[in-house]
Symmetry: C2
Subunit: 124 residues, 2 copies
DNA sequence: CAGGATCCTTAGAGATACTG
DNA sequence: CAGTATCTCTAAGGATCCTG
């Protein structure tokens, strides 16, 4: 049985160190995901694809403006798929792209941990 | 062989859905972690405990003010441990608490994924 | 060395009203 | 229904100087 240093190997294997350099492009993406609403929208869509109005209700407290801009940047990042039906009234469905689902795989454990430990942290 | 819906079960098991309600305390923690510098400081400390000056250099681009306030909120959240030696000149060491290391366990995979896919996303 | 205290600037974010 | 267009404003963030 081989025991290795968990912390160091994690960083090495995950090649995380580059993030700390100012030029790393991941900083941009990190900002998008953590733009206050980014995580929540991704989590909502990870549960199931939804229409605009549904999302607005699912992600409590988000304004129309923020939902719009959040969805736009996530779509540009290739994480969210936007499908508009040219009907009247219009119907637009949002869902995660394969890339977005990949992200959800590592994002959900984080959000889950936070949700479970939030009360402990914030000390209600 | 039993096949289950990965997405739904993930959400259920992780009890992530509560995050979407406006009153959920996890939103506060989520904000702290994703406060532009929060993730980076946590990643830096996940690699190894560091002194103030080291952190300042490790997390490229962070200002003194932001490093100070980020460390303060993370300390209040119980994620970061601050150890000050009463020497002259002063020496202060920062490291992750057990809780912070737990968080790192789920945070590093996310950051790692983003780092590896950032160029694909941002489309350099 | 490790911060506090200040001042200043913007982008993020809210509210409201309007439209194809 | 699914947004866009404005307007406004706070608070995150940056730069600089100061100190035990």
């Amino acid at each position: 049985m081989t025991v290795i240093d968990t912390r160091v190997s994690l960083l090495d294997e995950l090649m995380v160190d580059g993030v700390l350099s100012a030029a790393c492009p991941s900083r941009v993406v990190l900002d998008h995901i953590s733009s206050k609403w980014g995580v929540l929208v991704l989590v909502a869509l990870a549960e199931r694809g939804q229409r605009w109005g549904e999302l607005r209700r699912t992600v409590e407290g988000i304004s129309e403006k923020m939902l719009a801009s959040t969805l736009r940047t996530l779509e540009q990042d290739g994480l969210v798929l936007r499908e508009a039906q040219p009907t009247i009234p219009p119907r637009v469905d949002y869902s995660l792209t394969p890339l977005g689902q990949e992200l959800a795989t590592v994002l959900l454990p984080l959000v889950g941990w936070v949700a479970r430990n939030a009360s402990r942290i914030v000390g209600d």
